[in-house]
């Protein structure tokens, strides 16, 4: 039952686990089984050590001082930008904008890129499986500028109907905003195809990679994506830091986002000129230590054979799916072919929160609720689901603990 997976031979999850100190702790006297990495991943020791070492040895504000530490910190900060560039295979480093996270990155595109282009009646195409962070910024444009949100449905198995998406793109469409991987269903969208079809109609595409970039290698040039969004804390990095990739051609015409220091060229009493990207979009002192932490996390992740990590996660998903099949009172929501390592489910007679509470006391951390995806909950006619999400440090033993916990919950609640 616990035999290590053969396909993941070139990735040793047990060894990787040792990099994450928190995974050796207990909760309520039980070993921690962390199945909530889709909400936020744990951080390996090297990320935490590097952040502390940097703060203790090289820290100062960036881009400001002429002194030694300021130069050192600026070097690290800009090196981090190149790390993100490499991670996403962007053509240029100035196509990488640091943000607070995925949410801010999408709000930036909404405000700086799309808002000035929207006329009443213009359309934004999005799918019903978007996270609220890829919905609400577009609602703002509906409320404030008369944009029309066009929703593309998913099939009952959670897969995206590419033809339906294609059909939703009209000559009024100004942007397609789509997730790379659903945080609830695990569905991985055919980004390359989506982008090709949108571009054939002259429409740019924003891809929310907050989940997707964690689980597969992203190549923004090969995808030809216009905007790609990542967040640090799901990528084994710290909170408070994320990044927006945007094509240089778009960045050039985009108005500034936040106003403040760092993003200007010249400020006078009666006029102002702005810095070029990326500085134009990075007003104020950035989260410098976190940026260094993000770069370390990306290096950590890139240090593995990503395909082998993906195979390991896929093995966990397949194993969990098989194990859960024994419960005829449990319904998995989202079974799209090629989906990522996330399983959402609802159980007869057991509300997700009651289930999560009982699992919690077994040491098993899962997510319960609407997962910031209420439009999707409505689509599947559920108020909430329980969700187990897997990361590189999870093992089949974690799945076994989940399954045992579910049996126990069933015994208590029904």
């Amino acid at each position: 039952m616990n035999a290590p997976s053969k396909i993941a031979a070139s990735f040793d999850a047990e060894k990787a686990r040792a990099d994450f100190e928190i995974l050796s702790r207990t909760v309520y006297g039980k070993p921690l089984v962390y199945l909530d990495s889709g909400a936020s991943a744990q951080k390996p020791r090297i990320v935490l050590d590097t952040m502390r070492d940097f703060a203790q040895g090289e820290y100062a504000n960036v881009h400001r001082g002429v002194h030694f530490l300021s130069a050192a910190a600026t070097d690290r900060y800009e090196a981090a930008r190149r790390t993100v560039q490499t991670f996403l295979n962007a053509a240029r480093e100035d196509e990488i904008i640091f943000t607070k996270g995925g949410t801010e990155a999408i709000n930036l595109v909404s405000y700086s890129y799309l808002a000035p282009l929207i006329q009443p009646g213009d359309e934004i195409v999005l799918t019903v499986m978007e996270h609220h962070s890829n919905i609400v910024p577009w609602h703002f444009l509906r409320e404030r500028a008369g944009a029309v949100l066009k929703w593309v449905d998913v099939r009952d198995d959670g897969s995206l109907d590419i033809e339906a998406l294609d059909a939703a793109i009209t000559n009024k469409t100004k942007l397609v905003a789509v997730t790379h991987m659903s945080n609830v269903l695990g569905t991985v969208t055919p980004l390359k195809d989506i982008i090709a079809r949108a571009h054939a109609k002259g429409v740019p595409v924003l891809a929310d990679g907050c989940q997707g970039a964690v689980h597969e290698k992203v190549d923004v040039q090969a995808l030809d994506v216009d905007f790609y969004v990542v967040t640090g804390h799901k990528l084994y990095g710290p909170t408070g830091i994320g990044a927006l990739y945007a094509k240089r051609a778009h960045l050039k015409g985009m108005r500034p986002f936040n106003g403040g220091g760092e993003m200007i060229r010249e400020v006078m009493k009666d006029r102002i000129t702005y810095a070029d990207a990326p500085a134009r979009f990075e007003a104020g002192t950035p989260p410098i230590i976190e940026t260094v932490g993000l770069a370390t996390a990306l290096d950590y992740l890139s240090g593995f054979d990503r395909a082998a990590v993906a195979a390991h996660e896929h093995d966990l998903l397949t194993y969990a799916r098989e194990q859960l099949r024994q419960f005829n009172w449990l319904r998995v929501i989202g079974d799209a072919p090629g989906k990522g390592a996330i399983i959402s489910f609802e159980a007869d007679g057991m509300h997700a929160h009651d289930l999560a509470t009982i699992l919690d006391r077994e040491g098993v951390a899962v997510r319960a609720g609407h997962h910031c995806a209420q439009v999707l909950m409505e689509r599947f006619n559920v108020a909430s689901t329980s969700r187990a999400s897997f990361a590189l440090y999870n093992t089949r033993a974690d799945v076994d603990a989940l399954v045992a916990g579910l049996s126990k919950a069933r015994g208590i609640l029904t």
């Binding site: 309520y28 006297g29 039980k30 007679g349 057991m350 509300h351 997700a352 929160h353 009651d354 509470t357 009982i358 006391r361 319960a368 609720g369 609407h370 209420q374 909950m377 108020a383 909430s384 208590i412 609640l413």
Partner: protein, 148 residues
């Protein structure tokens, strides 16, 4: 230890109330009504009241969707509030709020405390206290702002 806490939280009375909620459904000719929503978990409850001229809870009902705790709490609440004067109802609510937060609830009348004791286990689960209090806060909103 852990199991005891769980068993106490999900004891039979609670599960019974959640599976077979009392006073469930809309109330025709309600004098007061309010909707409660917990955006964190998506739990929803609507409380309907028929308040007498003197403020007594003449009739009460609820509708909603949610976890066992929120449904059981709403069901027990309707059971216990029916027929109470405004003052008694307020006292009961305050006592209940103290109880589920693990605070001193000795101001509750003896038999009320005995009936509500089954909800006391929630104080061990701070993340779930909101589930238990949703219906009560919604009742309060209905009284104060929900005149139909």
């Amino acid at each position: 230890m852990t199991d005891n806490a769980l068993r106490e939280l999900y004891q039979e009375v609670i599960l019974d109330h959640s599976r077979h909620p009392r006073h469930y459904g809309a109330l025709d000719h309600a004098s007061h009504k309010a909707e409660g929503y917990n955006p964190l978990c998506g739990d929803k409850v609507t409380v309907y009241l028929k308040l007498d001229a003197d403020g007594r809870v003449g009739d009460i009902a609820f509708e909603g969707k949610g976890c066992a705790i929120s449904q059981a709490s709403a069901s027990m609440m309707t059971d216990m509030l029916k027929g109470r004067t405004a003052e008694e109802a307020e006292k009961l609510m305050q006592g209940f709020l103290h109880l589920v937060k693990g605070e001193d609830a000795s101001d509750l009348p003896e038999d009320d405390r005995e009936r509500l004791e089954v909800m006391g286990g929630i104080s061990e689960f701070p993340m779930r206290v909101k589930c238990a209090t949703l219906a009560w806060h919604t009742y309060k909103n209905a009284v104060e702002e929900g005149a139909t």
